[in-house]
Symmetry: C2
Subunit: 199 residues, 2 copies
């Protein structure tokens, strides 16, 4: 909660930590979606007044984009970390999938998928951001799968870029289904089945 920003050389200093506020905002957008979240909600979760929010982040839409980028960064770092612990690429793939599944909570899903569904068709900025996050993840998955295939953990006749797309689509489906149709256990089983079918 201590302001961790660089101190602006002049003027009154911030009384809140920008990252802490962003994290709070991100969680509300994650749980409620963009339209269903009001400025009042954002003030409540950060403890800030409208004026402060606007001064620090701009309007609701800009604030949402910052929260979305923050989510994508944190999430990606977490998954990469989870996928870097083993010497076996396949084990790393499974760890990444499990991490992504865990991040979705009981019914929170994934902020990127939530936003893709709610906003992408009508919001070019959100769509562009999500495309770039998605491509980053698709590349990382393809690399990981390629490595697993090279060391014989995945059948040689399977094409990494196809498997990566398959996995991404199934993960997107997980994020949707966990919001009310399947339990986390069922989702996790299905994801395991998919990866196991590659060996």
């Amino acid at each position: 909660m201590t302001p961790a920003q660089v101190q602006r050389s002049v003027g009154r200093p911030r009384e809140f930590d920008e990252d802490t506020a962003l994290e709070a905002v991100m969680n509300v957008f994650w749980r409620k979606g963009y339209e269903a979240t009001s400025l009042a909600d954002l003030c409540a979760c950060t403890g800030l007044h409208k004026g402060s929010l606007y001064r620090a982040f701009g309007d609701k839409h800009q604030l949402f984009l910052r929260a979305l980028r923050h989510y994508a960064e944190v999430e990606f770092r977490g998954v990469v970390a989870a996928a870097s612990r083993s010497d076996s690429p396949l084990a790393n793939i499974k760890a990444a999938v499990r991490k992504i599944c865990d991040d979705a909570g009981q019914d929170k899903g994934c902020l990127m998928i939530n936003s893709l569904v709610e906003l992408a068709p009508h919001d070019p900025e959100v769509k562009t951001a999500l495309k770039s996050f998605g491509e980053q993840r698709l590349r990382a998955m393809t690399d990981l799968i390629g490595a697993a295939r090279r060391c014989g953990e995945i059948r040689a006749e399977l094409e990494p870029h196809k498997l990566a797309r398959q996995l991404m689509m199934t993960l997107a489906g997980s994020a949707a289904m966990i919001k009310g149709f399947l339990s986390r256990k069922e989702v996790a089983e299905t994801l395991d089945d998919l990866v196991d079918s590659w060996t």
Copy 2:
């Protein structure tokens, strides 16, 4: 556009067709989502006044539920029809998948998945409805896959209920991804790959 309802025995007759209005409403909810759709939008797309909408369907939420049920019915009938044309269960599965994919348009996705993501965690009625629609589809898929397996079109060691869940999750992913991350062609390819991997 001609009123097709049963004539109420007494009172002034409807000047609009309930199903036509419902179809229009459904399309707006489908494209814009629940929160982003205003009563003004619903009046505009139906040509009706608020009062008439309230009298005929109740409030926004009840109207949405009617539209959602209407969507589920129409969509299911369409898919079942598409999956009943061939003698080969596998061909029927592929036809069903193609139909579902086509229904999603360029970036409209699926109203059920849209609603699952936007509303299910906070709206028990929507969640319950979607669960029942989903289970209906899961049963149908399992049956279809079981039939294909019995006649040797799908490998015997694969379990129909697992494949059905796999397919459902991938279809959910399709509906999300098509909203801005993947093209319909990429989605269709990925779905084909999945089903082909079962033979």
